[in-house]
Symmetry: D2
Subunit: 322 residues, 4 copies
């Protein structure tokens, strides 16, 4: 019997990706796709690539399901849960930032769904606060060092595709503006800093707030690439060893000896990591697809873990690569 799944906020980008993944999932079934603004329309009228794949329409109600994905804007999930009554047995995966720092919401306790950080905790959970996209990319680059207490001040620059800014029309997502352009935003103040610090401090209590992050808007649609620089005396070989150990069992996170590039992972649930060192400075490069490993893909991975099925189910995706 398949896992019955529903989506709230199904007309947006993360909602759309979650639909796509559920339609291709061998052990799950999309029961409903809720969208206040698009209720009544066929899914393929809004997600126009879905033609031929489903005759489902957006709805405005919330039938009982086994797992509910909240794909709302940041801050709206807590409100939605307070205004709607869910069956106590329904699992909830929230894509917003509502429960990443404070996981309590009525009777529900949300667990931070960074699989490579706490796979076993997630397996036993019923409510997931799915990590932010930049937070995922950067933390995957730092977890092995934090676990060993080896983090010092971290200087990170990251670049994100335009889908990270969502579907909303705005000047910095206007094609004529963004094409061939690079621009910084939320320098040193990005909202994902808090969830990263919480994780890293839990592993390395003396780390404090020593992560300094400059995000850039990139001129591509999908993906995040980050480079983090820090000081460490261990030699590169030892560090590589640490990383390969840490990720030895990971289904989607790969530590590579060669230079990596973003298109290795676009349209997949993978994260690739590479390490370079000169003197006592280490640089950690990571790449993910912001909508998959950074959002809907990781959400499905969390669902798989919570329901005790194969972690990679529904996530063996053909990369775009070229």
């Amino acid at each position: 019997m398949k896992i019955k799944a529903g989506i709230i906020g199904a007309a947006g980008y993360t909602g759309g990706e979650t639909i796509r993944l559920l339609l291709g999932h061998p052990f799950a079934e999309l029961i409903f796709a809720n969208s206040k603004s698009q209720a009544g329309k066929y899914l393929y009228e809004i997600h126009r690539d879905l033609v031929g794949e489903t005759q489902l329409r957006f709805c405005d109600d919330t039938p009982k399901v086994d797992v509910l994905f909240l794909c709302l804007s940041h801050g709206e999930s807590r409100v939605w849960l307070s205004e709607n009554t869910l069956d106590a047995n329904t699992f909830v995966i929230d894509m917003g930032n509502d429960f990443r720092l404070d996981g309590q919401c009525g009777d529900r306790e949300f667990v931070y769904g960074l699989v490579e950080y706490q796979r076993d905790v997630i397996r036993m959970s019923q409510n997931i606060a799915n990590p932010g996209c930049f937070a995922t990319a950067i933390q995957l680059g730092l977890l092995p060092l934090a676990q060993q207490g080896l983090l010092s001040e971290v200087y990170t620059t990251g670049v994100t595709g335009s889908t990270g800014a969502g579907q909303k029309l705005q000047e910095t997502s206007h094609f004529s503006w963004r094409l061939n352009n690079i621009s910084p935003y939320k320098t040193l103040t990005h909202q994902h800093l808090d969830e990263m610090q919480k994780t890293l401090v839990s592993l390395q209590p003396n780390f404090g707030k020593n992560i300094y992050f400059t995000p850039w808007r990139g001129d591509f649609a999908r993906g995040i690439f980050t480079s983090s620089m820090l000081t460490i005396t261990h030699d590169l070989k030892e560090i590589y060893h640490l990383y390969k150990e840490y990720y030895a069992e990971s289904a989607f996170t790969f530590v590579l000896d060669k230079n990596i590039d973003l298109k290795q992972v676009v349209n997949t649930n993978k994260c690739v990591i590479s390490l370079e060192k000169e003197g006592d400075k280490l640089v950690i490069h990571t790449a993910i697809d912001n909508l998959l490993k950074g959002a809907s893909g990781q959400a499905i991975q969390n669902m798989n873990l919570m329901f005790g099925i194969e972690e990679t189910a529904g996530l063996k995706l053909k990369s775009i690569v070229y």
Copy 2:
């Protein structure tokens, strides 16, 4: 038991896509990936997105398989078959243009693998000449009219992504040259004209060579978009009816009432078609992914048909869409 598949010329773009599709195929198994130039290397060293998916290496021999994909440059397949001895029971699917016009090659008779043109013939075949990418996109837009003998002079413009030009380094595929650029090539002389004319004349004998085609190089990597203009007196509703009838049973080709766009189909095996009419002029728009429906995806579709399995097996791909 799975279909055992091998690839000759596995290091190029269509070879890479065929690998990706076979790795995700529920009823087929990639037995070997032959590449003279890369023999000995892991597949993921060349197709770097394959990290974590296979430990196979490129080989330089040709073990016995159920089906062999020839992913060579145009003109090389005929040579390869003349220089290598295949088991008589091995099915062959050729991605080149070697057998599209003249299907005879020793004891083997190649059949033109345009599924929507002759699905039943393909089912009974053992050797497939896989259609060209532009030929696929344009013919799918014209088959329903040709079948009714309604084609008049056809004026087509089409634009292709850079992957259509392959992996070879050349000025017109240099990033600094091609970015933000559009340029024509092989105006009225594209090599796919012959195979299109052959198909269309077989359906409408009086059609002759009345297709005039201007191809453009586009500034994107994947996809083909074409618009064909012609004169016809039937009203648009009737014509839509014809198209919808013709493609009623097609698993991947969809006739849409609304404007279409290329990203509806990128990274999928679909073709979308829309029709518009003013006075007696009809415009037929089509879009495909040149490497999938226009090459490796169609090849797998042909394999599925020849082996009597579900036509869509291994081809339910997550679109890139954004």
Copy 3:
């Protein structure tokens, strides 16, 4: 003494380009840049590349000038002129489509400002209806044939950069939607058809409405590329001769023997044309920058002609090329 120039609607794309050209013009001076929505702000606050070039602010009045550029939305110029009183000696150049078909507006008679069509008429004029961007690109490809009465049915496909759709936020100009995408719009019904037919019929009265045009949205920001196909018995050499004769004196329009590409002309006022022929089918390729030769550049060229100064003044621009 410099020509004193003012702009109405100076905050948009064509307004911005007109500002840039006037700031670099040796014989003209930008006196004011009027924008209702941005009045009071520095020009460089909106056109952020202008930092360091001018301390002018947007205004909401209309001081007396020698020439006024109307850079309003289509349909607004006629309204603006009816609501504002201009000095009778002020020359007016309208970028909209308000006066292209019907040039009469009170005492003013607007002349169609396609320089290569009627340079001498423009020289004697005081009011210019500046041609549309697609209309410019397509007509420059057809004028020499029309002049000789050699046009037959013309089948044109053209692709435009996103700036052609202006500054307004809309789905088809959203970065995540448009990147790597191609889509048709206004198939066979584009609003520039009328002005093209008017010109072509004036040269070849039997031409009628025999131009069929499919426009595409391109995934670049600047430029238009068109290919027009038609039937003609003359040989290519003769046709080339006609074109080279026709454009022998043109400062910006070049007939080239080799394949052309869009980036030859991006960020310049040039148009490049090439011709190819097979059998009795001729293909005419043209490329322009939609905001320059297709809008503000041509407007300045018209100003230069009307004021009797060198046609190329202020228009010797460094191309982007790469």
Copy 4:
């Protein structure tokens, strides 16, 4: 009388940009464009955007000129000068990295041509080692702090357009590879580190080698964007004051209070800088066009200074902006 200029290596990207700038320069004249590989061809056959602008052909000799631009590959300039005899009065501007660290070459003493660092030294010089592109962008962000001795460890990430990698065909400049991609290269080992350290130490002797730089390949053709992070206790207002003072007289470098973006400067000779601060961490963003301020534009600026003409002559360029 105009400055007579010649170019060695005129068929490449920086050669091409130098040609374009010289053709538009009011006080200079391009006398010859030397290219071994293209000798005999018209400039517009290689730099195809130059159609209509010059009838000059590439040559393989070296007539006497007032100023010679060496646009050769790194390492070739020193060889070229040793193998060719120049008139002692000829000024030389070298675009390569041959003389940036060791300026001595026979009787000639090359001076580092970073205008904002030593405008007055340049004015008195006869031979210029033109700075590297990344070196220009990063140093312009650090000079004001270095001058005050305020630099601490600097962590810089920068992204460059594909033209930075030149005209040579290579995998990482292949369109299908680079489009929508980001990738690191020469992490912590970029060849521009040395020239930056030399400048910064000259201003702040205790700075040592404390600059750590991660370069990325970007998916655009023109431009460099950098963000440098460092620790400093001064408040942001003071720092802004320092920067504005330092660049008060600069013709092309602007310190802006708002976020900057790359397209503000593409196709211009400008550099824009903005500063942001949280706690004791300062982030300095800079943007330039790598081929102009980062190469040929800065070379012309150096020429202007050495010949005592207006610093901005020939460099008032229309930006691409959209």
